[in-house]
């Protein structure tokens, strides 16, 4: 096992102290920031896979993602200096009228774990705010969450706003318990994922590697 494999392992275990220590050690040793980053992301990918196979619980995923974000904080200045940007920029939020955010938060967490730059707009977000944020941050992807059948129409309205706003490089994906692939197609969303773990793959597939 290389030192970077150890770092990956520490993320998988959710061992925050060890992950931070190894990250600093690799930085001090002069490893390429992008390689250190890859080791971190690989750790979260493994946790995501374990989660999808029902071998990990969300609390474990959360601990891993906290280890990841603390390690990433050390790395960030170096990444910026080296001109390495997060893989994607994502805006996420729960649509207007809807306060359910546990699922949305999990999606945000998985996206962060995959090294997306995530702007979380919170809950009860008006459609204009999604569009503004997407424009301001030049988002590759916008994730809309809705849990109420009475707020599903707000997804449609938001997507219409995006079409009007003409942001061809921004994909809009949707999710939430009542959402189906069929509904996503019907309202012209670019994609749908049934759970947080597959939301990562969805974006990678849809937007493609930068």
């Amino acid at each position: 096992m290389t030192e970077l494999d150890n770092l990956t392992e520490a993320i998988v275990r959710g061992d925050r102290k060890e992950a931070v220590r190894l990250t600093q050690e690799r930085i001090d040793a002069g490893d390429e920031p992008k390689n250190i980053l890859a080791a971190l992301v690989k750790g979260m990918d493994i946790v995501g896979d374990k989660f999808q196979r029902q071998e990990a619980w969300v609390p474990e995923m959360l601990i891993a993602s906290r280890a990841m974000s603390q390690s990433l904080a050390l790395l960030e200045p170096l990444l910026v200096a080296a001109g390495i940007k997060p893989e994607f920029t994502a805006v996420v939020g729960t649509v207007e009228g809807d306060l359910h955010d546990i699922g949305k938060n999990l999606v945000a967490m998985m996206w962060r774990g995959a090294n997306f730059h995530v702007i979380d707009l919170g809950t009860n977000v008006p459609s204009d705010k999604f569009v503004e944020a997407a424009r301001e941050h030049n988002a590759d992807v916008v994730g809309l969450s809705a849990l109420l059948t009475t707020t599903m129409p707000a997804m449609k309205a938001t997507i219409e706003k995006f079409r009007e706003a003409n942001l061809p490089n921004t994909k809009v994906v949707i999710g939430g318990a009542p959402i189906t692939m069929e509904f996503a197609r019907e309202i012209g969303a670019d994609g749908f994922a049934p759970d947080a773990a597959s939301a990562v793959g969805l974006v990678r597939e849809l937007v493609g590697k930068a």
Partner: protein
Amino acid sequence: MTSFRTLAIENPTQLLFGVSPRPVTTRSGMRIGGGLVYPELNFTLPTMLVTEQTMPEVLRHYTEIVTEATRRAAELEAPGLLLEFEALPPMTENPDWGMDVVHVLLDGIEKGESKYGLKAALRVTPNDTREMIRPPRMRSGALYENMLALFERSAAAGADLLSIESVGGKEVHDEALVSGDLELAIFGLCVMGVRDMRFLWTEITGIARRHGVHPAGDTACGFANTAMVMAEQRLIPRVFAAVIRAVSAVRSLVAYECGAVGPGKDCGYENVFLKAITGCPMAMEGKTASCAHLSPVGNVSAAMADTWSNESVQNVKLLGGMAPICSLETLIYDCRLMNEAIADGPEAARTLRDWMVRSDARFDPQALILTPASAVRVARAIVVAPNPYRAGIAAAREAIAILSDAAAQGACKISDREAVWFDRMTDTLDDLPSDEDAFIERTMAQVDRSTFVAEDYLLAERANA
């Protein structure tokens, strides 16, 4: 405030569907908990917006539901029908809209009574819209005022029962669930939750008293059902969700301490503990609520039900008819069976009850924690504790003991991946101070204070400490 120091029902054999020591009588003469289980029908709109423009369409839906439901209940000779109007958030934010629906439903009930002689009653459940802003303001503001207005006006209009799914404490509890953090969960439920419940239920019981209607009860839906749904999706361990259920009873109990009389709100599965403590009748839901959400407690939840609910179903067309009516029919048949068992005497009723209990309890810890035997054990742990904080710890310890014993004896299916959580949760509890003030001090230093307004929970001086 009443303080429950002993159990109303000490003996698990006395915990039974359809009967409770303190029945509640509606204006139409339904005696809930007085020897019959009544169907409690819930319903909601199909996929649509609720706006000023769509309100006529909204009212058409509710008119159709109440007209058809009273007709079908009469055709099937139901001994009574409880309707629950669980408002949708825009209807609480605009109490005029909420009241339009209340009037439609009361009108339909009245027509059902005069046309068919059907006994019927309405439970109105405004939304806890206080959390529409974050951090929520729990004790003031337009959202709070409108919510209370819907309570007040519904009571004045003649709704028999008032309920809510209140959310005080949820600001930190969501985080507790996703992190599997029992300490934070106890803070959310037994410190923040209890404080908000005392405030809110003093208001609600005051309103009910002014208008001569029943303050029915609350539910820890946003806490324990969130945990159950997450466990169902295998996001968190089921044993953790089962322990959260037991702890949640401490929070929901406060409504009764403030004067609620039941029937407790349907989605509060912790009602089994509350029935043992208070003797008030309880609404329950289980297999017949699968139209709203799946659960591992489909039968066991009926064991102590006084009203039997479908939780929620959209007004959409199924082959049998509109979905609420199909739901109602299932509820009525479920109730017929239970009522027939009661009519055959307590022994017969207990046989049916025990079948319902045993058919679920060995498959899931969340079912095991709801059995009559478990209910009385957890309830006793709660009433002997000196304060809500210690009651939360005691409920958690008792639940862990019940579940881990069952796991050790092979009496309930609990995987190794789950069983490790017994030690993890016990370690957390062992590490907690016995003094509530010390606990508050310690937790306030760690929680994310941006998510809630400390003064609304009378925790401001701690926040500044």
